[in-house]
Symmetry: D2
Subunit: 165 residues, 4 copies
Amino acid sequence: MTAAPAPATGFVPANPDFAARVRDSFARQPFMDHIGARITALAPGFCEIALQSRRELTQQHGFVHGGVLASIADSAAGYAAFSLMPAEATVLTVEYKLNLLRPGDGEAMIARGRVVKPGRTLFVVQADVFARKGGKEEQVLASLQTLMRLDGRTDDAAGAPGRGR
Amino acid sequence: MTAAPAPATGFVPANPDFAARVRDSFARQPFMDHIGARITALAPGFCEIALQSRRELTQQHGFVHGGVLASIADSAAGYAAFSLMPAEATVLTVEYKLNLLRPGDGEAMIARGRVVKPGRTLFVVQADVFARKGGKEEQVLASLQTLMRLDGRTDDAAGAPGRGR
Amino acid sequence: MTAAPAPATGFVPANPDFAARVRDSFARQPFMDHIGARITALAPGFCEIALQSRRELTQQHGFVHGGVLASIADSAAGYAAFSLMPAEATVLTVEYKLNLLRPGDGEAMIARGRVVKPGRTLFVVQADVFARKGGKEEQVLASLQTLMRLDGRTDDAAGAPGRGR
Amino acid sequence: MTAAPAPATGFVPANPDFAARVRDSFARQPFMDHIGARITALAPGFCEIALQSRRELTQQHGFVHGGVLASIADSAAGYAAFSLMPAEATVLTVEYKLNLLRPGDGEAMIARGRVVKPGRTLFVVQADVFARKGGKEEQVLASLQTLMRLDGRTDDAAGAPGRGR
């Protein structure tokens, strides 16, 4: 997969260095590596994450598992929100709801998260996942997510949020 | 992890051989194997799925990734519903909503799905995930899920539901 | 409020007489009348429902109650789906998830439902609500909904779905 | 409807005067009065809200409208959370997801909200609605909700949260 051009989103990032910060955080997520996911496009309030389908990621019908689709939708939404946060904040997924629209059938799965409403504390993000098959894309997942900004924390194990939120 | 005793649920399974059918379907999910998940308890309308925490499953703060928690919650809900279905049906996840309550911090993550309302076509299931740490369990995820029964299909690639639902 | 022009949606209705059928069903909903809601635009796979703000519809902060916003979002989603169904079917709300983005502050509240994915049995619909204040609109609610088609039933008390779904 | 005894919840309220504060806030919600809802039981982290079914609250099949069920579920969840907050805070509904399990068929509809996880900022609450018919109760709605605590605000128009959250 080649990186897609980043869309114009109209958001102004609080941290001009947001792209490096998002990519650095993503690189510290072993699970994203375990499923072969990577960031393929990034803009203020937008993040695209894609992976190649392979047997280890499938369910009993031979399609990509819903949990894999949820995982890249969750990360795309999280980094779409994180891209708008100041340098001294980290991001937490509060909750999400997703609909599985079609089976995850294709060579690649592509998640796209877009901030709908940035807030002081909470960010509402829409994330969709598409299956790419023979050059065509079809939407396989729709989701609506709530993320939280936690201030005064580094985005690594040292800044881990612990049990309170 | 040792298998927990199956709780009494009050549901009467349509298929007396439901346990073998659930375990057979689970065994054909490569992704469950990829994350090290297995069924640790099963009863009509109830399924427990657990995994050992390990580095490949973590996010940037060092906790088990939300996508992993979602994956076992999704499967626990799916098999809780599937356990009540007749032998000639398969199950599809329609949608779910989950809240992440605390970080996935512990030696093991345990998902428990319980059918709230079985229907002719749709099953509503509650699935919770708990982190076990030093012998204590704390709830880390709460979810409410909708599953669909598809009749006249085998639960494998041959019976895959295709694009319509 | 004047009726807005119906947007072009690209969907072909199964029932050419869908508009009359939707309006007839809506007219038989006493609760929509109780809160002063009416259909202000309609197209295949799309429905807009609006109401004037008034004191009876508010919560303790003086804004339109979230339950009122949910009610018009639910109906807009339901009729967006219903508009694509054949004449001999009725529609049921299976579930929805909504985020309240801002307080319901304005002269009018306008819900717009758009079908994301029509299915054989299930319809996934996105419904948003906007507050209109001084000629400007701001989004106050985002939702993602699942509706079900029930065949062989009239859309009135005689065809009421009963307890199974 | 007679008031039910308040269940023991195990939560210790931050505000010993929580019951008066909840009832006072509820009394300032014109929409709850418009649909005839009232608080029938209250305890720390728990709130029950009930209404009598009547024609103005119904949909086209003659059952209580889903929007009415959502409204009392939303309020029951909100006040369950609010009951645990300090005196100088107000509560906002962030989001919720609900499943409609059966039609709203009965003489009365009873919503019960229970806090699942109180947090520093966010509260996760489960709210169910039951239809009472001929002395029997059946669950008609299940929901999972996220509420937010806003500090330093009065719970009335003067303390209204405005557009940021």
